[in-house]
Amino acid sequence: MIQKKVCMVGLFGTGKTSLVQQFVHSIFSVKYHSTVGVKIDRKAVDVDGTPVTLVLWDLAGRDAAQDIPASYLRGSHAILFVVDGTRRETFDQLSELQELARAAAGEVPSLVALNKADLAEQWVLGQREEAALAAQGRHLLKTSAKSGDGVEAAFSWLARETIRDGGSAS
């Protein structure tokens, strides 16, 4: 069984944990975020008949008091950046986070989840922002923790990318 380490990175309150909660196997409680700064879950994905286990490192959201520990990002096979579509600053700091991730984990496949897509009326991101990301070669996906939309697709895409990218040697 191939296993891949996937880090979920985002600012505090972007809904990372809620996003995956219903989709993953977890044995640790949410309080790990405030203690250790990470909570680890598992997600089984099937990529064209190849079972892949994603070990999800749900990193505590960055805020003013707490930085994301670079060591947690080390060795990641893929990174899921989570942005809160209703909070502009979560988008603004994305590039900073991406830089941090690249420094720690190198060039690995990544996906930006534009979360809380169900809150359409509070949505602050427009075409311009999305286009800017796409221009950087970023892959985007709208997700909703509430409805579950886009979540499976995000994991499937990440799993596929890890297999294609680094899985060929194994």
């Binding site: 296993q3 380490k5 640790f28 250790v36 947690y72 080390r74 194994s170």
Partner: protein, 592 residues
């Protein structure tokens, strides 16, 4: 030879014309030996080619082997039978060589197996003893019953020193699990999550306390669990231990981790999430799963009065042993004293060891058997080791016994030792007394044998004669001392019998005397009767002397009316007492 060339002997008379390089000679050689020369050349070529091939193969062989071994297992398969037979041949020829070679491998393995077996045995015995007879054992049974847990698990819970329940092999960089081994009773399918968390925690601690690579979290404890983390450059080995892990466990983890790094260097380099190549490391992980129970638990952990449990039986046992020892010692002392008191036994050395009584000494052949004496004391004589040298004892009882045996003393004679004289008393045949008196050499222990108090017992024929003589009674008329004519015949046969008695006793050195008792009836005066009885004795003596009995053998004893014979009535009594009666006296012939 100065030019190194050989000149053949001149068989053909060609001396002077012989030149091996000339064309004619070459032709001749071709004609004569052409075919053989070509064969020779071909052979030479083959030989050279062979040695050249061998050299080339020698050059290429190591590389070829390495190459092929890397490609597939064909080489190993092809070589296996040869290797096997080579080894068995080597063992057959010189087993010592192989034994020496594999000893370093076998020795530790055997030692380990033995040690483990012994440890398990000791531990199970200890636990069985400890738990069967203790209050704790009962309490645990109660706990098992109360909680519905198997007793074995309760024992494990309490007796456990430590138990490695899970071992994780974790990829250092990604935190992904490479391998996991767990006790069979633990069902955990979250190795990936735990591995990740362990890595995260490691990172967290390192980051939080600003430690460098070499300062990583190695141990942390939660309740009864301790997690030992051994980190290597490529992988981390984490062991979840219940109880108190010893330092040796950490060293064991280090050792296993190093082995893994060595064996799986290539797999680490290629790792991209697939743990399959590390499946081979599972035995190394499983080796780390070990359970150690409290057969060597510190004493302080035991209840304070636990020693009582041992002390009471020990004191009882000690007391019993002391009692046995005391009894044994007393029995031994008794035995020695008894043997020492026994006449004819002298103990030179007496020693007691476990189950054996050892005696060395002297023993008179006539003394009692020591083994019989000891058996009489109730001693077990199977462990008796005794050696007795014979000697002659001068103890009175043994002197008497020896004399009795040497002199064939009749049972009717008793012997008594007084000073250096052995006194014999009782009754013995004439022959024995005569023989005893005639001995010039006496057994040791006395120098004089006194048989004077031994009554001579006549042989049967002489006894018959004596009885006949003593049955006779010569009767007289009232007031008369005249031997009646009819009594003369009686006296004649009496004289004959007495002569026979005389000659019979003389052969044993004895003398027979005949006492004649003259009596009267009670009428008349005593003086008269005395005279009358004297006259009657003399009358009978006269008859006997005339019949050939020497007068000095006859002793007249006129009794008068004294010591009368008794009869049925006064008339008969008076008649019986008007008589002369006879008594034979056999005495030793006085020494001449």
């Amino acid at each position: 030879m100065p030019d190194g060339r050989t000149t053949p002997p001149d068989y053909l008379g060609l001396a002077g014309e012989y030149d091996p390089t000339s064309a004619e000679f070459a032709e001749l050689r071709e004609l004569l030996l052409g075919e053989e020369r070509r064969q020779l050349a071909a052979l030479q070529q083959r030989v050279e080619a062979q040695s050249k091939n061998a050299e080339e193969v020698a050059e290429l062989l190591p590389e070829a082997i390495a190459l092929r071994s890397g490609r597939d297992r064909q080489l190993a398969r092809a070589l296996a039978p040869t290797m096997e037979s080579a080894i068995s041949e080597s063992v057959r020829r010189n087993p010592r060589e192989i034994a020496t070679a594999i000893f370093p491998v076998l020795g530790p393995a055997i030692r380990k197996a033995l040690a483990e077996t012994m440890a398990a045995l000791v531990e199970s015995i200890n636990r069985a003893v400890e738990h069967t007879f203790s209050f704790r054992g009962l309490a645990w049974r109660l706990e098992a019953w109360r909680t519905g847990t198997p007793y074995a698990q309760i024992v494990l819970k309490h007796a456990l020193v430590y138990r490695v329940e899970q071992v994780f092999l974790i990829h250092a960089e990604t935190g992904l699990p490479l391998g996991h081994a767990a006790s069979p009773d633990l069902k955990s399918s979250n190795a990936d999550l735990i591995s990740g968390m362990l890595t995260a925690i490691q990172d967290f601690v390192s980051d939080s306390f600003r430690q460098q690579e070499d300062g990583r979290l190695r141990t942390f404890s939660v309740g009864e669990l301790t997690v030992l983390v051994e980190a290597g450059p490529q992988a981390v080995l984490a062991a979840v231990v219940r109880g108190q892990p010893p330092d040796t466990l950490l060293r064991k983890l280090q050792d296993r981790l190093e082995t893994i790094h060595l064996q799986f260097a290539a797999a680490f380099a290629d790792f991209s999430g697939d743990p399959a190549p590390f499946e081979a490391a599972r035995p190394l992980l499983e080796e780390c799963l070990e359970t150690v129970l409290s057969h060597d638990r510190p004493r302080a952990a035991r209840p304070r009065l636990a020693w009582l449990r041992w002390a009471v039986p020990l004191v009882l046992l000690g007391g019993a042993l002391a009692g046995l020892a005391w009894r044994s010692q007393r029995r031994w002392a008794n035995a020695v004293a008894r043997l020492e008191a026994e006449p004819g036994i002298q103990i030179v050395q007496a020693r007691r060891s476990l189950g054996t009584w050892r005696f060395r000494g002297l023993k008179d052949p006539l003394a009692a058997q020591p083994a019989v004496i000891l058996a009489g004391l109730g001693a077990d004589t199977t462990g008796l080791d005794a050696r007795w040298e014979p000697y002659l004892s001068l103890e009175p009882s043994l002197v008497v016994a020896r004399a009795r045996q040497a002199l064939a003393v009749p049972a009717t004679v008793t012997l008594r030792l007084g000073g250096d004289t052995l006194h014999a008393e009782g009754e013995a045949p004439l022959g024995w007394v005569a023989r005893a008196d005639g001995l010039s050499l006496l057994p040791p222990g006395f120098s004089v044998l006194d048989t004077r108090a031994v009554a001579a017992k006549l042989p049967a024929d002489l006894t018959a004669l004596r009885n006949r003589i003593e049955a006779e009674l010569v009767l007289f008329e009232v007031g008369s001392a005249l031997v009646a004519p009819e009594e003369r015949g009686v006296l004649d046969s009496l004289a004959t019998a007495f002569r026979g008695l005389q000659s019979g006793t003389r052969t044993f050195g004895y003398r027979a005397d005949l006492a004649l008792y003259g009596r009267t009836d009670s009428t008349g005066s005593d003086a008269l009767n005395q005279t009358l009885s004297q006259s009657r004795v003399e009358a009978v003596s006269g008859v006997l002397v005339r019949a050939g009995i020497p007068a000095e053998r006859l002793k007249g004893i006129p009794l008068g009316t004294a010591n009368p014979l008794t009869g049925r009535d006064s008339l008969q009594q008076a008649r019986l007492n008007r008589s002369v009666a006879f008594q034979v006296q056999v005495t030793r012939e006085p020494p001449r």
